[in-house]
Amino acid sequence: MTAPTFQDTVFALKKYWSDRGCIIQEPYDVEVGAGTMAPETFLRVLGPDPYRVAYVQPSRRPADGRYGENPNRLYKHQQLQVILKPSPADVIDQYLGSLTAIGIDLSKHDIKFEEDNWEAPTLGAWGIGWQVMLDGLEITQFTYFQQCGGFDLDLVPAELTYGLERISAFLQNVDSVYDIEWAPGIKYSQVRFQDERQFSKYNFELADIKMLWQLFDLHEKECQRLLSTTDVVLAAYDQVLKCSHIFNLLDSRGAISVTERVGVIGRVRRLALGVAKAWMAQTEYAQTNPPDAAQEVVA
């Protein structure tokens, strides 16, 4: 049996989760550091409505770039994000089924669930879970969300985040992500090497620090304006994502000092909590059940 291509693996996972009631979404089109930040996760996990969604999310982490020279590190990697809200009782069995669906014969491999609790202070979010290890390789982050945007969650969603490059490299038995076969006859390097090289250069050397600070301030103001004077929560949330990405860029440029750092994280966090609060307020539920996190949001 030949190993599946990168895109075959993506297709198989999407099909698998589609068969289990997930909406298949496309990647969110604003820069994010992780699939969790896309509104399909950050906002949809809030409130009492069930939701199931799966999508690939290209995730940008400027500081992780290595100019295309490191076989395992990428400035931008692809996550397959699955949200099952509420989590079904057989969620782990369903997850293991997805591994079978992409061609992993579990009877010949070693699977372990190792404690790994997830926390994103800038999003006021945390959860309990594991990293899933396949023959010693971390292939998935599995999290039961407990809090998001400072709110205790009404329904506990299970979040499955598959590291697609790692899984593909494993399935194809290659040591470098750049050697992954993306489509028949097409390597990952042909598709993505230039991104890695050029964006590493931009993120570490070229990005205009002064401009980034200005952009940060502008997006922050826009978010605050939208939250205080309008009801367009989704547009406000885009501004949070912009701020978050700009923060990461400034960080990779080494432009954030120790004293500034905590403060800037706090600014992004306040915006994110404000958006979550506004989103909750827009559901009838929130009007009859004042959120526990209200004080924290104001603070």
Partner: protein
């Protein structure tokens, strides 16, 4: 009737390090439940894997014994109305009452018989609370806001008394007699009895007893290495982790390219140990060998796929480490100093750059030579290296290795390498004088700066590991013989350090608690001096005259306290009475300047006689004052060694 009991709480994977403490609680709580309800029975085993907590007990009775109680009522003189009321309250009729004569007269009584409840009913009622009462470091909810919390979701429950199910429910899961096997090797919904439970689990890929899993790992590792002239680096903590992260552990032997052995073994071992949970393998000379042992949670690796996968991951990790090593060498440690301005030590305290400045100053204050000062300057710079960002456990070690590679003299790089030591109570302290001074300065700065912004540990919370830092300070000073006069301490830090010093000498060095208290009462800031005084007191403690003298000192202290005596003046010889007082005074003067050890024996009978024959509280105020002065001086002269009144003696405690 004597019944066996079995409880299994089936969960999703519980973190390995939480399992044993949880089982201890469950076992204790269940035994208490049996005892409090007079259900007989003893817990016979408490076993667990990451997916199940299993408690077994034997000898339970099927019903609580009935109890018979004689309840006293109103006096007979209160009349039949009161008697009827009493009977009614207890659900009886007046004709069931009896009259008995007590010391206070005639009273109504009722033999109240309470029927015991069925054991199954009691357990069905109590088990859910019991299970949910286990204390975990961090819990979660999974059925929606406000629902029950546990460490991970509960997915099945087995509860049998004899062969009957004890019915209860937690979070929508009902108890039954069906267990689940290993995720990949077993079936789900396996019907069990109390008798065949272990066997059923075993045939479904679960070894229930941790001890057996541990044995399997150890035996099979020995088999894998047999005849190869190799051994694993012993690692009890890792063995424990692997025992509790698996239901059916099977070790495999993997290899890596020997070219990676060029990297420092510290780095290779950390990658294997902390990132991959592998045992390192060494040859008979103790040199790292290009092999590792991984422990699978399954029965076999017939096609070698698991070994291949693990080797592939390790190769990638080692490649990363080599890449970091090469990258990091491009910028020398001393050129990284200003980068420390961007590394937070503690948000309220500031950056590692500022910490470095303080540690350098402190090293100078401690008399550290130029090598030690150089090491202090470099010691935190490795925090800016890729290697330490990736392998944080290696902070210090990496700095030392880089300093060595960059041509720093051995006293410098060794001090940097060692400066986080001791890493635990048992861990070794830095091996060189430079390392000890640096480590001491670094730890003391951490303590002083955290306390200065109110970050003292509270209860079990010690996020900055200040207890460990303080323990390190104490051990380095005492065991490394570093002269250390701690600079001024705020009262909370002083109290904190005092506790750590007391803990160290009492619980780590095993000095008697009263000796520690006595010696510390005479001063504890100079720890080397304190240790030597403790050793002296410990040595003279068993001598026959010591405890009597200690008891006398307690008496002296009480007398002075009662008299409110604090005045310090010379003893007036002319007021000394001949006889016992004179003899005590002369002996005291004669032995003045001699060691404590040589004074005890001659003084003891004189003191005893003095207290036997002489009235301290003499009618003449001048005489009384003179006697108090004498006692006060005696107390003073010995008190630079210890406050002997703190010594617990048979005489003083009676």
């Amino acid at each position: 009737m004597s019944l066996p009991f079995v409880l299994e709480v089936g969960t999703e994977e519980i973190p390995d390090w939480m399992i044993v403490p949880a089982m201890n609680q469950l076992q204790d709580m269940f035994q208490a439940l049996l005892d409090q309800n007079s259900l007989a029975g003893k817990v016979s085993s408490a076993d667990a894997t990451p997916r199940r907590l299993v408690l077994k007990a034997a000898g339970l009775i099927d019903r609580q014994p009935d109890t018979d109680e004689l309840v006293s009522g109103p006096p007979k003189s209160a009349g039949p109305g009161a008697a009827a009321g009493f009977a009614k309250k207890l659900g009886a009729t007046p004709d069931q009452l009896i009259v008995q004569t007590t010391a206070k007269g005639e009273y109504y009584f009722l033999h109240k018989r309470t029927q015991g409840q069925a054991t199954a009913a009691i357990l069905a009622r109590e088990l859910p609370n019991l299970i949910l009462k286990i204390q975990w470091p961090k819990t979660m909810y999974w059925n929606g806001k406000g629902s029950q919390r546990f460490i991970r979701p509960i997915r099945w429950l087995v509860a049998l008394l004899g062969e009957s199910v004890i019915p209860f429910e937690i979070g929508g899961v009902r108890s039954g007699n069906a267990t689940h096997g290993h995720r990949l090797l077993g079936k789900t919904s396996i019907l069990i009895t109390t008798a065949d439970f272990d066997e059923q689990l075993r045939t479904n890929g679960v070894i229930l007893q941790a001890e057996k899993r541990r044995d399997k790992i150890e035996t099979e590792i020995a088999g894998l290495l047999d005849g190869k002239n190799l051994r694993i680096k012993p690692d009890p903590d890792l063995l424990h982790t692997l025992t509790y992260i698996t239901e059916f552990p099977s070790p495999i032997l993997g290899s890596f390219d020997s070219q990676y052995l060029e990297l420092p073994s510290e780095v290779l071992i950390t990658v294997m140990r902390h990132h991959q949970k592998y045992f390192s393998v060494e040859d008979s000379q103790g040199n790292l060998a290009p092999h590792f042992i991984a422990v699978m949670n399954t029965n076999a690796d017939p096609e070698g796929l698991v070994r291949h996968g693990n080797e592939r991951v390790l190769r990638a990790r080692f490649n990363d480490a080599r890449f970091f090593w090469q990258q990091d060498q491009k910028k020398k440690l001393e050129d990284r100093l200003s980068d420390l301005k961007n590394v937070t030590f503690q948000a309220k305290v500031g950056s590692y750059y500022e910490k470095t400045q303080r540690v350098v100053d402190l090293v100078k204050l401690l008399g550290g030579d130029s090598n030690t000062q150089r090491a202090a300057l470099l010691c935190k710079t490795d925090l800016t290296t890729d290697m330490v960002k990736e392998f944080t456990d290696l902070q210090g070690v990496v700095g030392g290795l880089y300093a060595k590679a960059q041509g720093e003299p051995e006293p410098v790089w060794r001090a940097v390498y060692d400066h986080y030591k001791p890493l635990s109570m048992e861990g070794e302290i830095p091996s060189t004088a430079e390392g000890r001074v640096l480590s001491l300065a670094d730890k003391w700065d951490t303590l002083a700066s955290c306390f200065s912004v109110g970050l003292a540990p509270t209860g079990s919370k010690d996020p900055f590991a200040l207890r460990r830092a303080a323990q390190g300070v104490v051990r380095i000073v005492v065991e490394g013989k570093v002269k250390f006069d701690s600079p001024g301490m705020p009262p909370d830090l002083e109290e904190f350090m005092r506790d750590r010093v007391e803990y160290y000498f009492r619980d780590v060095r095993n000095f008697a608690y009263d000796e520690v208290r006595a010696c510390m009462a005479a001063g504890w800031r100079d720890l080397i001096d304190l240790e030597s005084r403790l050793k002296r007191v410990q040595a003279i403690r068993p001598t026959p005259d010591f405890e009597p003298i200690a008891a006398s000192f307690k008496r002296i202290k009480n007398i002075l306290k009662q008299a409110g005596f604090t005045e310090i003046s010379a003893v007036d010889e002319s007021l000394i009475e001949p006889g016992p007082e004179r003899r005590l005074y002369d002996e005291f003067q004669r032995t003045s300047g001699q060691s404590l050890e040589s004074r005890i024996t001659p003084l003891r009978p004189k003191i005893d006689l003095f207290f036997d024959k002489v009235l301290v509280n003499a009618p003449d105020p001048a005489v009384r004052k003179n006697r108090l002065t004498l006692l006060h001086r005696m107390l003073q002269e010995f008190s630079d060694i210890a406050d002997f009144s703190e010594i617990v003696t048979e005489r003083s405690s009676s």
